[in-house]
Symmetry: C2
């Protein structure tokens, strides 16, 4: 999903995190599934999720998560690698991500064979 | 806003609270303003908020909050009285409402002269 012609990936600083933007980002089933997968397996490439949605839809979901500060994205070769910004989210909004992960149990199906390949 | 012809007001049990429905309900400026006002002044009537939006829009916002379990509504005469279900929300989703109230500071304007009249 990485593109050589794309704009640089921008990430909000922790001080600019907006709780309501974060909560809004987390109230979508596809984005929640991405967050749950990244909590279990940091460093997953966007391509791992392609079976769940079309590339353009996925790109939008990843962008919403990145712009809210929920995930960090980095292009490595032709792959876009994703990690959850859990430590920063925990510092800024204590307990929120743990609550989200706990309440997501039974709601989204963990990706059994997710890998960073 | 109370109506003699309206359906009975239904409220979810605490066990049926859905974090994602609650977060979704809280990511709207008007609903957030209602929650902030009710946190400071329990028992406000819907009519108190009429200056902020039309009656039909307000009715929808209050219904979203009620159906998510965020507020309790009760018809008293011709008035519909609202209270935040803070104790139940705190029990089910520890810290969430306090976080929302803290982060709402500076985002929504507290109603200076709100009363239950």
């Amino acid at each position: 999903m990485a593109s050589r012609t794309a704009s640089p990936l921008t990430h909000p600083d922790i001080d600019d995190f907006d709780l309501f933007k974060v909560m809004s980002a987390l109230t979508d089933e596809t984005r929640l599934a991405i967050v749950v997968a990244l909590a279990a397996s940091p460093g997953l490439a966007c391509s791992v999720f392609r079976q769940d949605a079309t590339a353009s839809v996925l790109t939008r979901h990843f962008r919403v998560l990145r712009e809210a500060g929920v995930i960090h994205q980095q292009d490595v070769g032709t792959r876009r690698i994703n990690t959850l910004r859990k430590e920063e989210l925990d510092e800024r909004f204590p307990g929120l991500i743990d609550l989200v992960l706990k309440e997501s149990a039974g709601r989204v199906t963990p990706r059994a064979n997710a890998s960073s390949a």
